[in-house]
């Protein structure tokens, strides 16, 4: 599998560590309460189509990357740096 690192370009997926849903970008405010943190830490959409997810280029440039990938065909549609996705989300 190949992942297009926004900085290093296309690389073999063995250089990356998969973390999971990109919902981890949106950590609740400290005072958001137990329910919000339960949802953030434990609940997952787990779609069968497009999944927005977090990868870490750990034996490359050590960037955290937000990818959009179809989890049935494994096709990647878009990758961007997590710091940019976060800024975009603001």
């Amino acid at each position: 599998m190949r992942i297009n690192c926004p900085i290093c370009g296309e690389r073999d997926s063995r250089e990356f560590h998969y973390r999971g849903s990109a919902k981890l970008l949106d950590r609740p405010a400290p005072d958001a309460g137990a329910e919000a943190f339960y949802d953030y830490v434990y609940i997952r959409e787990n779609p069968t189509g497009l999944n927005r997810e977090l990868w870490f280029h750990d034996s490359g440039c050590r960037s955290w990357i937000v990818a959009e990938r179809n989890v049935t065909t494994h096709e990647f549609f878009k990758t961007e740096l997590a710091v940019d996705a976060k800024r975009g989300a603001k």
């Binding site: 599998m1 073999d12 997926s13 063995r14 560590h17 998969y18 973390r19 999971g20 849903s21 137990a34 339960y38 949802d39 830490v41 434990y42 609940i43 997952r44 959409e45 787990n46 779609p47 069968t48 999944n51 997810e53 990938r69 989890v71 049935t72 065909t73 494994h74």
Partner: protein, 416 residues
Amino acid sequence: MRYSALQVFLNGLTGNKNWKPVWRNPEPKSHYDVIIIGGGGHGLSTAYYLAAKYGITNVAVLERGYLGGGNVGRNTTIVRANYFLEGNSQFYSHSLKMWESLEQELNYNVMLSQRGQVILGHSDGQVDSLARRGNMMRMQGDDAELWSREETKRQLPYLNHDDPRFPVYGALMHWRGGTARHDAVAWGFARGADMRGVDLIQNCEVKGFRIENGKVLGVETSRGYIGAGKVGMTVAGRTSQVGEMAGLRLPIESHVLQAFVTEGLKPIMPHVVSFGMGHFYLSQSDKGGLVFGGDLDMYNSYAQRGNLPMVEHVAEAGMALMPMIGKAKMLRSWGGIMDMSMDGTPIIDKTHIDGFFLNCGWCYGGFKAVPASGDCFAHLISTGNHHKAADKFLLSRFETGHVIDETGNGATPNLH
């Protein structure tokens, strides 16, 4: 029609003409007391025990593909009861006891082969945690032996004991662990359920549910609407997808686990062996193929296939542990969709929808759980109360903090 050596002999004399179909292909009725979604190991065993043990026979199992086509047909067939946390310990112990009488119960040879399942420890710390696990197994009434380095070398001469990268410090042997023929388990339960009046309905995909004021009334399927008093979900891998149709939001991620088999070889490996310093476990099937697997590919997937990095890691771990298998050739690789829960432990529970029951989160340990999962889920569906062997597998445990986390890796599903 009862199976036995005599039947095989008599039928052999008459050209095997009068073996009967193992199950019918019924058209779905308009209403059932219970509908089980998912014709895999857990769905078929649930239907079987509903009919055989809990007296409910007006049951249908809806399978979108062919019976036994999901994970039950894709796993590495390992059966064991070697868990160390309260909740898991009693459940898998109950399941292993049920395995030991399953052939007689189903009158179907599932080929349960209790040849011993051993986990290796490669540091004093790992041996201590194996001891904690082994003691819990004994406290639960199951068998466990802790082997020293020398004992492990004597018992498992086929491992690499010649200055390996990660020497063996000790091992935990569970003699009643072993393997079973996965297809036979699915077909045995299916035949048993069908004989007792359960309708097994293949090529029937669930499209939605009819739920009115908090009560489930029936299931929309590719073969029309079917009414139901109660609905049980056992669709491991597709739990979130089917759950979403009922408005459930779950602590589940679906991941691909690859498995591999080599060409058939003369017997060389009697036990089931798990390596402690890399993801690798292996056993030899009755047909002579080395069946082995390792870890998830680590990314969400419904593709039932994986990629090369994990194939290579598993093979490298195999060569590190057992260099004698180098000349065995991998014949085939495939993948299943693992229902990874947030603490690595399953969920058998009611839901906020009256009459709608949830059985999921089996990660990659579902095969050995088939008998007890069916028994406990049938118990919950029929009586409304949790079976005592599964009363810790609650959906609410994540909210309350009573998580059951055997690997200790927390809320990262692909690390369980």
